[in-house]
């Protein structure tokens, strides 16, 4: 593959990302499944990069899951999003940074819709006023939180305690990036690197010393699809999509997967267990799975955060093989304990997947 050709494409897809003063919008799925990720993101931004971020407790779900499952009408989701804009405006912020890819897609789509149909924006302003008595300014800058980490990837590299390198052999670790569909497929110009050769996560991997795997099914959806995974009978074709990706990436022997969409990270992690139970197949080395990280977790590891403080024990696929390769010290005894040493219980051992 010709890197120069890719760099040429990347030039066409650079977007403006605000430098500081971010209004943070949490993700339903990320804070449920990867609670350490959002904490780490805020800590990195505030304490490592010295940025001003507002984590507003009044902020709610964007209702994206309901919207994509046809239970929340478009006027409702627009009004909920308008309320987020109002909270941002009231707090004196202009740059909104959602943690969820679905929210990012929805914010982008709504702003785009309003740009083309000012009458819809007017109607939503009226709804918001009637419901809450609030008014809002549209954000000056909308960026996904992975865009923010991408923007400061070199600052993070400068403070790194670990590199994406196998400390025993000096080999660069091979990272698979998985970009949430709603990050760039709907609006390629809103994604760093575009939709075909996305650079937002691969840029982090490169900056932190790793090697990016560009495998044939790189662009394929993880299969989340809301309606598909919500209804149990439909999950068969949801998981089949993740399986297609695993089959395609396996020959490259990746050391880890990093995703910017919380749903994708959850799926790529948990489906590895499901597939192993249903078919006996595992995709990592020696019976392990391929560790799946959020980009906040990856940044956290590089910066030397404690893996259990990052919440990596909440993952289905064991991350220890990756930690060992990176030479990260961790206490196996503390994996299923709180900071104070209290036992938090542990999952049952899978049949095939080594943990």
């Amino acid at each position: 593959m010709n890197l120069e050709g890719k760099q040429q494409v990347w030039k066409d897809y650079q977007k403006e990302i605000a430098d500081d003063r971010y209004y943070y919008a949490r993700s339903c799925i990320r804070q449920t499944f990867f609670p350490g990720s959002e904490w780490a993101y805020l800590d990195i931004l505030k304490n490592k990069l010295g940025k001003d971020v507002l984590d507003d407790p009044r902020h709610t779900t964007c209702t994206g899951i309901g919207y994509h499952s046809d239970v929340v009408p478009v006027q409702t989701i627009m009004t909920v999003v308008a309320r987020h804009f109002a909270l941002m405006t009231e707090a004196g912020y202009e740059n909104i940074t959602p943690s969820c890819i679905t929210s990012f897609g929805i914010y982008t789509e709504i702003l785009e819709t309003w740009a083309h149909h000012p009458e819809i924006e007017e109607q939503i302003r009226e709804y918001l006023w009637k419901a809450t008595g609030r008014e809002f300014k549209k954000p000056k800058n909308l960026a996904h939180t992975s865009d923010i980490i991408y923007k400061f990837r070199e600052d993070i590299a400068a403070q790194a305690r670990y590199k994406l390198v196998d400390v025993h052999t000096g080999r660069q670790l091979r990272g698979v990036d998985h970009i949430g569909c709603h990050y760039a497929k709907m609006f390629p110009s809103k994604g760093i690197g575009g939709a075909e050769f996305p650079a937002v996560l691969s840029g982090m991997i490169s900056s932190w010393g790793g090697d990016v795997v560009d495998y044939p099914e790189r662009r394929h959806c993880c299969g989340f699809g809301f309606r598909q995974y919500l209804v149990m009978a439909n999950r068969g074709y949801s998981v089949a999509n993740s399986k297609k990706k695993f089959e395609s990436m396996r020959p490259y022997e990746p050391d880890f997967i990093v995703a910017n969409c919380p749903g994708c990270a959850m799926f790529l992690d948990k489906w590895q267990y499901t597939i192993s139970e249903m078919e006996g197949t595992t995709y990592g080395q020696d019976g392990y799975g391929i560790p799946v990280l959020t980009y906040e977790e990856l940044a956290g590891l590089v910066l030397g955060y404690d893996p259990w403080e990052l919440g990596l024990q909440m993952h289905q696929v064991a991350v220890e093989p990756l930690l060992d390769k990176m030479g990260i010290a961790y206490d196996p005894e503390m994996k299923y304990r709180t900071k104070e040493g209290k036992d938090i219980g542990r999952p049952k051992c899978p049949t095939y997947l080594k943990v």
Binding site: M232, Y237, V239
Partner: protein, 111 residues
Amino acid sequence: MNFWGFNISETRSINYDTNDKDMLIHVLQEVPSCKLCIECGGCTAGCTAGRLTSFNIRKLQMFMKRGENKEIREELHKCMLCGKCILVCPRGVDTRKMILSMMKYIKNNQK
């Protein structure tokens, strides 16, 4: 026991890389005119069997060309061998002979 409530779906994609093209090789040797099909569907429009069943002779030869032989095994016996399809074919494909050749291949390769 599957306690999941779902199975991992099989792909609907035709995998040309791995499909078996042995039947195609056999039929093309016996009926070279098969190569000439331009997928107009004339054969299927007037087909006696196709009017009453899911039999689609145009699709069948396409499935053969892609190595999707399972579909052919399930459908082939519906053909009444009337020969109407030969009359209409603008490219002179010997469709009736093609069907017979496919049948012969399946018979000889049954396990």
